[in-house]
Amino acid sequence: MLNNVIIFVLSAFLGTEVLSKVPQTLHTPLMSGANAISGITLVGAVVAAGMTGNEWASWIGFAAVVVASINVVGGFLVTDRMLQMFARKKRGTPSDVDASTVATPTNGAA
């Protein structure tokens, strides 16, 4: 128990340290990605559904597996969909690159 509390506290510090530097641009993907990670409960759900001692426990576990899977699979996929749009921007379509390189010097001259 005490070990778990120690892990909890250290993780909280680690999380704060890593996540406070995420830029505003990525807050929505961060949230949906983090939410997908919270679906780690799936691990617990698998354990619960895998119990054989009690039928009730297995069925409740099954329900947990279903909802946790929605959270995990859906969460990671939708985050990927969002981030794809940001990544595409980096490589830049030709028109993007042209616009930024052309626009800036002209502007400076004006």
Binding site: F8, G15, H27, I40, G44, V47, A49, M51, A64, A87
Partner: protein, 478 residues
């Protein structure tokens, strides 16, 4: 040996989560980060499947296929404007899953299975109770948040006499139930009913608690609520980790809890509100009750047209676009991008000013603009762009309202007083594209509309911007 391998697998997945989240610090590496995190999840689940004494395989595989299938469909189908609704509902499922796992644990004990009943001590009772409480509150709270965001529950704060009392009773009842479970834990092998019924009562109380916690909160505060529920879903997973004595769940759940909390604090700061103040609710509405174009007495409005706006911008050196949710709803992102492109081609500097609470969840506006291929280098956060408005020729406000309301700076009696805003009124000319003079999501009237240097373009955002685009093109050819 087996336990050692499984613990190492969990450690690996935790490391992958941390690296994955770290890569969220830049748009360039973020997608890879998300893939790392999902790999971490894969490792954890596979290790559990193979190394735990998991016996009912068909059930688990079936559950993953059903749930995963639903997840795929939802993730593929969702519109970017509806992202907050989807994240809210996913949060809810995460919370529900945690509560169910804890309940399964109770069922396990009460079923008199192979598990040693003596393992159910006071500590186990408390962790299970907390997991059920947090998980269920997250679930029902998220359902209500989803309803408010998607409109099947009014975005107005809903309150009734005795709401606070009911809330307090539910909180007290929930903690009372947990304490009772802890006290009863000792006599468990012979007396299972008290604990079983108490867990059920706790679940019911937590369900209603989630509802009464979110229902009085107005639409304008939804970014905070979504962030907070995200934090709860992480804490629910962490609590379940305590129940199962599972390090993977504790570490990952806590990381998510921290993420949600950080975003909650950022959102509160962006609105100059305390968390307690948000939670007490009563602020904001759904912007309905369109008051039309009624101009209050003693004030006047300058109207403008897409043509005039196009001319104004074509002769500007610097244009700052302030996008709001109205832009997103009208799906005008693509037209806005085209307009910005045209202006840039003429050597005009175009920037986007993004308020932290623009949209319906933290950073929502950035996603909407990214969808329309707006390069993220052009997006500026509030603190970076505010000093620039005084040198801006045209500030084009599209469907944004509360985040540009000078009342937040000037009117001490205003409910939004003190909220940091985009200082568009410092620009030489402000053009506001909006359907009417109706107040925004917060329900506060906007004095900006009556300023001398403000021109109102009453129109749907998409039509107005498309009109501007046509006119800019025509001017260029002329």
């Amino acid at each position: 040996m087996k336990t050692a391998i499984i613990d190492l697998a969990y450690l690996l997945s935790a490391v992958l989560f941390v690296f994955g989240l770290k890569r969220m610090q830049s748009p360039v590496t973020a997608q890879r980060g998300n893939q790392l995190a999902s790999a971490g999840m894969f490792v954890a689940v596979i290790a559990t499947l193979f190394l735990y004494e998991v016996l009912s395989w068909p059930m688990i595989i079936g559950g993953v296929i059903v749930g995963g299938g639903i997840g795929v469909v939802l993730a593929r189908k969702v519109e970017m404007t509806s992202m907050p609704e989807l994240v809210a509902i996913f949060n809810g499922f995460g919370g529900l899953a945690s509560a169910l796992v804890a309940s399964a644990e109770i069922a396990q004990y009460t079923g008199g299975s192979a598990i040693e009943l003596s393992a159910f001590d006071a500590v186990a009772a408390i962790t299970i109770g907390l997991s059920v409480l947090i998980g269920t509150v997250t679930f029902s709270g998220s359902i209500v948040a989803n309803g408010k965001l998607s409109g099947w529950i009014s975005g107005n704060p809903i309150s009734f006499p005795g709401l606070r009392v009911l809330m307090a009773l539910l909180v007290l009842g929930s903690f009372g139930a947990i304490v009772y479970m802890a006290l009863e834990a000792g006599g468990f092998p012979t007396e299972v009913e008290p604990v079983l019924y108490t867990v059920m009562a706790l679940g019911a109380a937590a369900f209603f608690l989630g509802i009464v916690l979110v229902i009085p909160i107005g639409g304008a505060d939804m970014p905070v609520v979504v962030a907070l529920l995200n934090s709860y879903s992480g804490l629910a997973a962490a609590a379940t980790g305590f129940v199962l004595d599972n390090t993977a769940l504790i570490v990952s759940g806590t990381l998510v809890g921290a993420a949600g909390l950080i975003l909650t604090v950022i959102m509160c700061d962006a609105m100059n509100r305390s968390l307690a103040n948000v939670m007490l609710g009563g602020f904001g509405g759904d912007g309905g009750g369109a008051s039309g174009v009624d101009v209050p007495e003693g004030k006047s409005v300058n109207e403008t047209s897409p043509d005039d706006t196009a001319i104004l911008m074509s002769y500007a050196d610097k244009v700052v676009i302030v996008p709001g949710y109205g832009l997103a709803v009208a799906q005008a992102q693509h037209e806005v991008r085209e307009m910005a492109q045209l202006l840039e081609d003429q050597g005009i500097e175009v920037k986007y000013a993004i308020h932290p609470v623009a949209g319906r969840m933290p950073g929502h506006m950035n996603v909407l603009l990214a969808e329309a291929n707006v390069p993220y280098e052009r997006l500026y956060e509030m603190d970076d762009i505010n000093p620039e408005f005084s040198t801006t020729d045209v500030a084009l406000v599209i469907g944004a309202n509360d985040v540009v309301n000078p009342a937040a700076r000037e009117d001490e009696d205003s409910p939004i007083y003190g909220m940091p805003i985009l200082n568009v009124d410092e620009a030489e000319t402000v053009v506001v594209i909006k359907r009417s003079l109706s107040p925004g999501y917060s329900g506060v009237p906007n004095n900006l509309f009556y300023n001398d240097n403000t021109k109102m373009l009453f129109s749907d955002a998409k039509e107005a911007v498309a009109g501007i685009v046509d006119e800019v093109k025509a001017l260029k050819e002329a």
